[in-house]
Subunit: 221 residues, 2 copies
Amino acid sequence: MRVIELKESITASNDRDADALREEMRIEGTLLVNLMSSPGSGKTTLLSRIIEDLGGEWKIAVLEADIDAQVDAERMEEKGARSIQVHTDGMCHMDAGMTRTGLREMGTEGIDLAFLENVGNLICPAEFDTGAGKNVMLLSVPEGDDKPLKYPLMFMKSDVLVITKTDTMPAFDFDLVRCTERVRRLNPDIRIFPVSAKTGEGMADLENWLVTAVRDWKAGL
Amino acid sequence: MRVIELKESITASNDRDADALREEMRIEGTLLVNLMSSPGSGKTTLLSRIIEDLGGEWKIAVLEADIDAQVDAERMEEKGARSIQVHTDGMCHMDAGMTRTGLREMGTEGIDLAFLENVGNLICPAEFDTGAGKNVMLLSVPEGDDKPLKYPLMFMKSDVLVITKTDTMPAFDFDLVRCTERVRRLNPDIRIFPVSAKTGEGMADLENWLVTAVRDWKAGL
C-alpha cells in the first residue's frame, strides 16, 4: 500500500481537465464514482460492504483522499480491492488533476469500478469537478435532516444521496420524509438510498443501481 | 433576527486582524469562543443547553455562520440569546474580518460570552484565526475515534475538545481512551470534556470551565 503526497494542480481550467479525465475513463471502461460526505458519515464502511458484495462480479479500486493517515486504504486492501492513499497537503478537496495523478499512480487497467473517497467535507468538494462519471454523497442519520438547508450545493451536485447509518434512527430525531422533501427541492432528479452498511438494510437497492451504472458506463450510455 | 451576507475579507494579514479583534474584545470584557466541528456534530444543541444553564448568570450572544439557512439563529433567539445569522457566500470558514463584521452588526455591548458557531467543517476553519479568545472543537461519537488521525490540524489548534452525543456510545464503536490518546499525541495541553447535551452528562464540567474562562478573560488573565 503506497501513500502519495499531492499539491493542488496549477490550472485555471479544472472543468476542462475533468471532462478530459471523464473521457479517458470512458474509453478505459472504468466508472469513476466520487464519494463525498462530512467526516465520519461512513464512507469507508459503506465501501467495505460494497467491495464484499460486488467484488466477485466487478474489479473494484479505491482512491483514498485524506489530509493525513492511511487507515482507510489499509482497510480497503484488507477487503481485496486495489487501493492507494492520497494525501492532499492540507487541501479540503480533490480536483481533476489530483484525481488523475492518483488514478495513474494506482493504475486502473482492468478496473470496472473505481471509487474516489474524497476528503471528508460537505462544502469544498462540491465546488470541484473531479472528472468522475457519477457523484454520490452520503448523509448519515446522526448528522440530522437539516443538512440540505445548510449545505445546498453538495445536494445539488450529486447524482445519488445515500442516507447512512439508518440502524441508528431510534437514537436520533431524523425525519426521513422531511429530509427527502428538502433534498428534492434542491435536486428533483437525485436518487436517494437509505442504507445501513451494518445490518445490510437497503444495500441491495444501492448495489443494483451501481451495477446498472457500471454496465451503462461500459456501454457508452 | 437579521441575516447578513459576507464576502471574504480582502486582507493579506488575517493574523494581525485577529490579534486586533482579540484585543478589542478583551477591552470590552467579552470572551469570544470559536466553536468548530463537522456538520451535524451538535454545536447548536450544545449551545442551546449552555444558554439555558448559564444564561441567568452571564449575558450570552451567538454569531451563527452558515453557507445558507437561518434555522440556528432562530433557535438561539428562542433560547433568549442575542443572535445574528451570517452567510459566508459559499466560503468554507470564517476569518477575522468576517467575524468582526458579524460581531459589530450584532452588537456585543454588555455581552459576557459570545460564541461564533463556525461553518460545519473539520478542515478550513482550523487554518484561519478568527480573533477568538478560545478555540473549542466538537467531535461527536457517531463520527468515530479515528478523526484525530485524519484531521490533525483542528485538534492541534483547539484549546478544548468537547466529545458530544456520549449517550449514543452503545450504538457506535467509539473508544474514548483510544481517542483521548490520539488527541493528546497531537496536543498535550488540550482539555477534553465528554458530554451529552441531551441527558446533561458531563455538562457541569464543561460549564465550569466556561465560567472560569469568562472570569479569567474579564480579569485580563
